[in-house]
């Protein structure tokens, strides 16, 4: 009797529903394709290695990155005990590069991530709303967009004052218009598709439609574009540090290191070029990865 009652009380929604085999989703397909792209995979491995080194830097650094020594200034690459040589104050360059990766990568990724969230929100709102709201938002964005990004970043940082937080803020403001524009154009496209019309015809509200039908189709392209901005962000951040508007010495950061070592360009050119090489390798890796991601997502079956 008790079992009978239990069965009768079970609502339909609690009955087991056979789960039919799902096809591989879009993102599984993208992953499968990007794994087969050698360039993107090399870039991913390099980035993972750089991030790993930066994260674990305090434990794997060969020397103290802050210990100066007047006797070992500007040693060449390959000096025993200083594999990558030393800087103008005799600090171990390898250790500084490892620890400096933290700030450099952080300053490359954080503004882009923040701008991705804010810019996508603005762009999707403008693209989905259309009409007057779209015009109002996008023309405001265009005002910021009219400035060259380097100039805007320097002007904002200069106005806000030196410091990491201010540098991050100004970089975020630089990237928001760029991401918002992409988000707006992708969303406008999706907005006009028949499946959004079909969803509207089914009586769903704007919020439900954006959540269920728009986000999944626009976030991918916006994300790909944003990853390509990481390298720009790193270079801009390095530039700000170079101008004394970002990170303050003695904190190691690749842009700042490049700045201080530039005086040694005639005595130890290879050592002086090393921080620049790291910036270059990181940004080109981000670019190759986002390129790979884009072509993996473009393929239509």
């Amino acid at each position: 009797m008790s079992t009978l009652q239990a069965t009768a009380a079970t609502p339909v929604s609690a009955l087991p529903l056979p789960a039919f085999k799902r096809s591989r989703g879009h993102w599984a397909n993208v992953a499968a394709r990007i794994v087969r792209n050698p360039l993107a995979m090399i870039a991913a491995v390099i980035l993972l290695a750089l991030i790993g080194i930066a994260v674990f830097a305090p434990w794997i650094m060969p020397a103290d990155p802050f210990a100066t020594s007047m006797f070992t200034r500007l040693k060449p690459i390959g000096t025993p005990g200083h594999l990558f040589g030393t800087d103008e104050l005799g600090r171990d360059l390898l250790s500084r590069l490892m620890l400096g990766g933290r700030l450099s990568l952080f300053m490359g990724i954080t503004p882009v991530l923040t701008a991705f969230v804010i810019g996508s929100g603005i762009g999707i709102l403008a693209g989905y709303a259309g009409g007057f709201i779209n015009t109002a938002i996008m023309r405001t964005i265009d005002v910021l967009y009219a400035f060259p990004s380097v100039l805007l970043a320097i002007a904002l940082s200069g106005a806000l004052g030196a410091g990491i937080v201010n540098a991050l803020t100004s970089l975020t403001i630089v990237f928001i218009p760029q991401i918002a524009r992409i988000a707006e154009s992708v969303t406008t496209q999706v907005r006009r598709s028949d499946y959004v019309d079909a969803a509207r015809a089914s009586g769903a509200g704007a919020f439900t439609i954006v959540r269920a039908h728009v986000l999944g189709n626009v976030l991918g392209p916006i994300f790909v574009y944003s990853t390509s901005l990481i390298s720009v962000s790193m270079i801009l951040a390095s530039g700000l540090s170079f101008l004394g508007l970002g990170v303050k010495p003695p904190e190691p950061e690749w842009g700042l290191m490049l700045n201080t070592l530039r005086t040694a360009i005639y005595t130890q050119p290879w050592v002086a070029a090393l921080p620049g090489a790291f910036i270059f390798i990181t940004s080109i890796s981000f670019n190759m990865l986002s390129d790979g991601l884009r072509s993996a997502m473009e393929v239509k079956q």
């Binding site: 339909v12 929604s13 009955l15 039919f20 019309d197 969803a199 089914s202 269920a212």
Partner: protein
């Protein structure tokens, strides 16, 4: 989910369209403050009824306003003026809010691919609308699978697939299932079979006929394919440049067409007999520009019967029955005071 059914009784038309008007203003033409601004007169005063349980076919050339009419009927575009009365209640009124109307009227689009979200599995796409209207997701999925089986796609094989893995015909079956998921009473089929292969088209048409029987549906079937319209429709509506020029039962329109445009359209149907094939184009030239439609009767620029009066006076739609069915036409040759102006009187008769 219970739909309120049949309020007005069987004689009440399911959807009455009254003086529907939709103009698209043109941007960037002329000075910014110049008035009046020109507009594409896509739907220009359209009146018709869709009777309960019938299939009303809509035919006309490309750009005559068929699809715009469909989108206005679904309220995907808002009309400039005019009224939609669904089973006796005005759409958008307190008695029938838009959301309630949308549960009862659904649409199948022409492009089977772009009308399905590429990131959603088939069953999720079908289950979306019922969940929007408050059905628990589990029951919605169950309903989606039942509907998949009903439109001839085994749920075990297709439920978890994505749109790109299906053929055009299979996708259009999914779209039909999605339209039926809310248990609508009216289904608007906007060129729903036009993009399919002939053999697949026939299968889907038969499916549509079966579903109509089973669920007691009413169809508005828009197509440029006259053979298909004749096969599926009970009544046929002919549109020209945003206006209705003729309505009648399928047999009336196809066997005794009254409007010269309908006659020309029917003459353009390819014949099965090579000896009977049409040798000259029955309609000369492209349809006039809907931005500045011709004065008087809009068809007079291409009409073989045109008289000077046609360019001056717009014909009034006249029907031989006042309500519902009947054979109606908008042509001066059928208006009492102007019929005599058309000299070959023997040809014009109110048969």
């Amino acid at each position: 989910m219970t739909n309120q059914r049949d309020i007005g009784g069987p004689r009440q038309p399911l959807l009455q369209v009254r003086d529907l008007l939709k103009h698209f203003p043109l941007k960037g033409k002329g000075l910014p403050f110049a008035s009046p601004r020109s507009a594409v007169r896509a739907v220009d005063g359209v009146n018709f009824d869709i009777l309960k349980g019938e299939t009303l076919g809509v035919v006309g050339e490309s750009g005559c306003g068929k699809s715009t009419t469909a989108r206005v009927l679904m309220q995907l575009i808002n009309q400039d003026s005019g009224e939609l009365v669904f089973d006796g209640e005005t759409v958008g009124s307190r008695a029938l809010p838009l959301r309630q109307f949308r549960r009862q009227a659904q649409m199948v689009f022409q492009d089977s691919y772009s009308s399905l979200n590429p990131r959603m599995t088939i069953e999720d796409s079908i289950a979306f609308a019922p969940t929007v209207h408050g059905l628990p997701s589990r029951e919605a999925i169950t309903r989606a699978r039942d509907l998949l089986a009903r439109v001839g796609l085994q749920p075990e094989r297709f439920a978890g697939r994505y749109p790109h893995e299906l053929s055009g015909g299979q996708r259009q079956r999914v779209n039909i299932a999605r339209a039926l998921a809310l248990e609508p009473r009216l289904v608007i089929l906007d060129e729903a079979v036009s993009a399919l292969d002939k053999s697949v088209e026939a299968q889907v048409l038969n499916l549509l006929l079966d579903l109509k029987q089973e669920f007691g549906l009413t169809y508005l079937f828009i197509s440029h394919d006259l053979n298909v319209v004749r096969f599926i429709s009970d009544r046929v509506l002919v549109m020209y440049l945003g206006q209705v020029v003729e309505i009648g039962s399928s047999d009336q329109v196809f066997d005794q067409p009254r409007h010269p445009y309908t006659r020309a359209l029917l003459k353009s149907m390819p014949s099965m007999d090579p000896l009977q094939r049409t040798m000259e184009a029955p309609l000369a030239g492209d349809p006039p520009n809907p931005i500045n439609p011709p004065s008087g009767c809009r068809f007079h620029t291409r009409c073989a019967y045109a008289r000077p009066v046609c360019g001056q006076r717009a014909p009034v739609f006249t029907s031989d029955e006042s309500s519902g069915g009947g054979h109606g036409v908008a042509c001066l040759r059928y208006e009492a005071d102007t019929a005599s102006l058309f000299s070959t009187a023997g040809e014009v008769s109110h048969a």
